[in-house]
């Protein structure tokens, strides 16, 4: 990506700890974000994503660690800047529009009075809601409310924009359109943004960079392609997309599975588990050692699970035209790019 990694980061989080009572929510959390970058924070619910956003915004105070915005500390050590002084924009999961104010009142809330009218008009045009100033939130559709919430956060020109599951309240069809629109809009505005989501597709689409998070820590950060193709741990591999962790024996750049060779990203030796994505497996019908164990037809494609003679399961995504049936014998063939391999824990050295 095109960010100048040599300039100091816009947002730096260093060794952050946060507990609620006995529950550790963030545990030695580190993250940096550069100007103009859009980061997706992907993790299962309850992993601390929302708490992290609230800490960045100043709605919570860290127990330990440091948060800096634009080079100066806002939380940690002796520093504490209240949320109202941080210039951090936030789009809430339920949008939190002020119900007693009209659209103009909502969007202009964070803008100084003198520039209010102008900024409201400009921002509403930016989010494709021109002329909606005098509507009240309860007369807007879900998608429109979402855009008003975005406009309200953008209007004061925040240093960083935080979005907490911004699309989860929209229905599936609308979600896809809105998220593309929002991505383009934020990119055009050269906004620095952090998206929090538990939807892996959303995370991959929206982020220049994706941080996968679990149990209060970052498991892996990287470009969407790196995250998908080169997962750092078996857990990350499974969380980012469907995967079979297939046993094989590595010998350098190739691992030998019972159905054939799999090219590896990093050379390894000895028994490994290879992260095999379903779309990288072809099934050849006819005689084979593997037996079709499950078949889910999904329209354009089908998800097939085959069992090896030793009972290991392998998922394959095949064309919907395929006419496999339960019990058919097939031979799987690996046909994708080099895959990630993890040392099998039980195999010793």
């Amino acid at each position: 990506m095109s960010f100048d990694e040599t300039t100091p980061p816009l947002l730096a989080i260093d060794g952050l700890h946060k507990s609620f009572g006995a529950t550790k929510v963030l545990d030695d959390f580190n993250l940096t974000l550069h100007s103009g970058e859009m980061l997706s924070l992907l993790g299962p619910s309850g992993c601390g994503k929302t708490t992290l956003l609230r800490l960045i915004a100043g709605l919570e105070q860290a127990d330990q660690g440091m948060i800096s915005l634009d080079g100066s500390a806002v939380d940690g050590g002796r520093a504490w800047v209240r949320p109202e002084g941080r210039h951090v924009g936030m789009v809430f999961q339920d949008w939190a529009l002020f119900p007693h104010l009209d659209v103009a009142g909502n969007v202009g809330y964070g803008v100084p009075r003198r520039q209010r009218a102008v900024e409201v008009t400009k921002t509403l045009e930016l989010v494709n809601l021109p002329g909606m100033q005098s509507r009240t939130p309860d007369t807007l559709s879900g998608g429109q409310q979402q855009r008003v919430a975005l406009a309200r956060a953008l209007a004061p020109k925040p240093t960083v924009l935080l979005l907490d599951e911004p699309f989860s309240n929209l229905d599936a069809a609308l979600r896809r359109d809105v998220r593309t629109e929002v991505r383009e809009l934020l990119r055009d505005a050269e906004m620095t943004a952090v998206f929090v989501t538990h939807d892996r597709e959303e995370a991959l689409v929206l982020g220049d960079r994706v941080a996968v998070m679990n149990a209060g820590r970052i498991v892996q950060t990287g470009t969407p392609a790196q995250i998908y193709q080169h997962p750092a741990t078996p857990w990350a591999a499974a969380f980012v997309g469907a995967v079979s962790l297939y046993p094989a024996v590595a010998a350098g750049d190739v691992a030998e599975a019972d159905f054939g060779p799999i090219p590896l990203l990093d050379s390894a030796r000895g028994p490994v588990e290879v992260a095999v994505r379903p779309e990288n497996v072809d099934l050849r019908a006819g005689d084979g050692e593997h037996v079709v164990d499950n078949y889910e037809y999904r329209g354009p494609d089908a998800m097939v699970t085959v069992a090896s003679p030793t009972g290991v399961l392998l998922h394959a995504r095949v064309s919907g035209m395929n006419s496999l049936a339960l019990g058919d014998r097939v031979s799987p063939v690996y046909s994708g790019p080099p895959a990630a391999a993890f040392t099998r824990p039980e195999a010793g050295s």
Partner: protein, 532 residues
Amino acid sequence: MRSPNIRSPALLKLVAVVVTVGFAFPAGYLVWRNFTFSSDPLGVLFSQRTRGPLFRTLRLAVLVSASTAVLGTALAWLTTRCDIPLKRLWLVLLPLPLVFPTFIGAAALIRTLNPGGLLTDWLNNVGLNWDVEMRGLFGAWLALTLFTYPYVYLPVAARLRRLPGSAEETARLLGNGPLTIIGRVVLPQTATAISAGTLLVFLYAISDFGAVQLMRYDTLSRAIYTTRLNNQPVSLTLSVILLMLAAVVVLVERSATRRFEVAAPVRSRRPVVYRLGRAKPAAVAFLAAAVALSFVGPLASLGDWAVDGIKLDASGGRDLLVGWDDVWSPTWNTAFGSVVAAVVAVAAVLPAAYLVVRYRSRIGTVANAVIVSSFALPGILIGLALLFWTLKTDVGSHLRNTLVLLVFAYVVRFGGQTMRTSQVAVSAVSSRLTDAARTLGAGWLRRFRSLELPLMAPGLLAGGGLVMLSVMKELPITLLIAPFGFPTLTTKAFNSIEEAFVAEAGVWSGVLVVLSGVLTWLFVVRRADHFD
């Protein structure tokens, strides 16, 4: 997500503590004074002088509770669940007895139903012989029943209207008849509302002063009033007994609500309606009699007094002792006092409501308990405590005959009424909204002004309206500690009733009833989601 370790602002806690101490002060002062100053408190406590009033208080309260429970529930059942004609009319009329302070209602009853009264004459003309005198236990019981049944009627009607019909329909499918269904399905589900309303009536009955005073029934509150000047030890001891009685009711109320607390069912389709069939004329007659006795009759007799007096004045008979100034000044005082008390009450209770709802603080819980319990404190006790305090202490003497003291007493008496509405109002402002405002750069003052206050306004107004209504009708506190130059409609009306200036009483009561009628309409009838 609400974070549990959010700290509540120190200033808010400080204000809540001060307010709580204020609410607890009158009761605390009574107890303290009783056991430090009066001679032989225990002796008085168990003497004949105290046992009589205590017994009469309990007897009256039990009788009134029983009759209002039956009357209120029956009226609620007929108007919400039966195919009664003119349903909307009954729904409007039935809560209206609340507009009468009990002493005005009692006076009206005396004038209508005593030998020689309006209705008595009419009844005798029709050939019915009625010669029951309106006084003592019977008079007090009738007055309190007629003018407090709405406290049962309103919650029970609300509950009956919300009961999902599915349970009753299921019972019917299982073969139960209407009466069995009422007994086995409807009443058990309504029991909480009935008992809550009845408890309120019980409390009202033990603390009532106006009706028992006019009916000359010597309950604790009347005995406290009559002994306050010449026998203070007795007066104080009786006060402490009444205080303990009120405390018992509060404890019962607390444990009852805890035990019966049921999640409000999801609002369902319209409730099942029962056909009255041949009982319909009797049901209508019953409703009409209730409305006639508790609302139309008293209203008519007030009008009758006033008109009589004005006619007499105009025809050159006895001069009506009321000029425009005499109407205007108590009306203004009443309006002023109740508005100020309402505003102060809402403002005083709000910090505690914040602590409870937003911060779940322990101080908030204690403040909430003290403030809410003070609704049980009879007005006569607050008035007496503050009266003695201003008479006996140096600090208090500065506040003698001041509006500040009167407003303080009103707030302690009725402030608890705003606690629930204030809590609802505070919880209407989701923390998400204030969070959003903070990230947009708004400090606490701007958040309060632009966000919280507008969103809380309807709830706060509702609570304030209830306080206004109550203060307007308040008698014993006003009688005991209102400044000399501050006549209100209740004190004017009460004094002229006591001195048998009937025409004047009619004028002042009439104005008072109109004012409280407007407020009752706005804050009780309309809000009880009564019409749907």
